[in-house]
Amino acid sequence: MNTAVAFIAAPLAVAFLLPLLGSRSSWGSRAAALLTLLALAAVGLLMLLRPAFPQVVVIGGWRAPFGISLYVDALSVMLVVLFDLLALFALWFQHQHGQEKPVSFDVLVLVLSAAAAGAVFTQDLFNLFVFLEITTVAALALSAPQTGSPRGVIRYWLFGSVASASMLLGIAILYSGAGTLNLVELGSRWSHLTPPVQWLSGVMILLGFLVKMEIVPFHVWAPSTYRAAPSSVGLLLSGVVTGLAAFSAWKFFALVLRGGASLPPVSGVFSFSQALFGLGALTLILGALAMLAEKDAKKLLAFSTISQMGLVLMAIALGNPRAVRAVFFLIFAHALGKSLLFFVTGLVVSRRRNSEWRSWHGLGAASPSLVWFWFLGTATIIGLPLFPGFWGKLTFIGGALEMGLWGRVGVMLLILATVCESVALLRVGHALWEREGEPSPRDEVPSPRVSGRLSYWAGALALSAAILWMGLWPAVFSRAFVTAQQAYAGDGTPSVVRTSTDAFAQRSGHHSRREGRMTHRQGRISHRDGNVPARHANVSQGR
């Protein structure tokens, strides 16, 4: 047993024990949930301080590529710590400022954090699918409104279901051709598959990721879901669920599709990666333009997430070392900055009962720190120098400029989108800052003070400290990102996973790489000849 497993097992165990304490969120259940997440984040930070990476954890004693293996390196632990801290922050925020406090909120946030950790660590395609499904189910249940119309959430369910159906069918097709579910092993068997299998499975699985990443035209569920959900859930959807989908999409793209290189061109004109790049660029620019037209603050933040994920998809599609590092930087920067923005939005909405940002004037005068936190979040997202988003966008530009005309067009679009995004976010900050503005019908309470409580400062300053740390001292992150990028790029596989696979292949006489083509069906035929294929041999060993 390894500590990495605790990130999955501990929150799940606590989540299932919490309902025993009663259906209302009590002091005990809240403390248990918060302490679990805090302890896990602390364990993760300790692991990062005394690094012994990379580790491969084999679940149930079944060696890769037969069992499920978890790949634990500095990057994955950092991501898990980030997700746990965001979950902690959202949970704490909901306890302090949320209207309703059922115990299900605590339970679902814990389940979400467990599934996020699993999806980050796993090296098995089906396991990844299962964990992503659990995050989607938890996010759906979290964003379902207690009162009012659930139409936005039903749309989310609909898109999520079709996405996961498409992904599952893709996995089934891929398995029927390759006979394995291990991501690394799939990557090395990919070139032996027939083109129809490659195309169908590649496109269908990526389609599932794109829906969860809110890429245009599959983003339609996002704005209405964000609007109906409480701000703490918006924070989780944007920082954890979407960021996780982006990381998983990158993992699939890098390990199995080898950066899109192993897929033949769509037509003579453009390649698969370029198609994805174009989709990302479209999302980037349309999301930023929609932000300018949006009156509702939560939907505005949703479009900002959509736009940022477009940029991440562009970086994934570029696939060169710098672009890969940009993917990691952007996921972190986006999660941190957007959490701060949702924090401010949540506080304002809890006072004004109105998420239309034009009616927010006056609050900033009563508590100026709110405006400062909004600007800090904005600076992080748009990438002002010395803020986290800056390093992400700078690395992205470096990667894009290596790729010729496509890259240059991408950089131009990025600059245009950043301008739109800045204007949209700064306008909201300005409205918050203004003393007088359009009179709001619900503005009967004259600008109550929001700040001043210990809990407010504790949360906001912790998040700001994380942002400033990543912005001013990116070397710590950068080092982990470079290590991870190199590990994954070496033959498209994390080297430790590859070694364990090879070692097993030699021991059991598995001959996939030396004798070339080893498809599933041939494996069975060779079995009949008395040459026991490794997969089946392992079944009998296991029993």
Binding site: E133, V137, R151, A165, A172, A290
Partner: protein
């Protein structure tokens, strides 16, 4: 036309019928049923990927060692289908709960697009 083709065609037809069901109506219950059909289609397809004519059930028995080199069925897809069915149960239950919420707040199961949310890019 052998058994494999027949099962594959029926699995993909189930998936297609489900897609058509999503496409052709706006009733929440209809959507839930349609998604259920799609999932069933995929599950049948998954079972098919592990099937092989003349292969044995992958259970190790006493006679296994003496029975000679007879191929096993692939047990992995069965495990996957089991997981997939459980996930399907979970999401269907959740969707039914959402349908109840919808019926309570709108008095109907017809999920029309909200005029206020039909804006830019939606």
């Amino acid at each position: 036309m052998n058994v494999v083709h027949l099962v594959a065609i029926s699995a993909l037809s189930l998936f297609g019928i489900g897609l058509y069901g999503l496409w052709s109506g706006r009733n929440v219950l209809r959507w839930i049923l349609a998604v259920g059909l799609m999932e069933t289609g995929i599950n049948v397809f998954l079972v098919l990927t592990g099937w092989y004519p003349g292969a044995r059930v992958p259970i190790i028995t006493e006679s296994f060692s003496t029975s000679g080199p007879v191929p096993f069925l692939d047990p992995v897809p069965s495990a996957l289908v089991l997981t997939s069915i459980v996930i399907g149960l979970g999401t269907t239950t959740l969707a039914l709960a959402l349908a109840i919420l919808h019926a309570r707040s709108h008095g109907t199961l017809e999920c029309e697009a909200d005029p206020e949310t039909a804006e830019v890019l939606e």
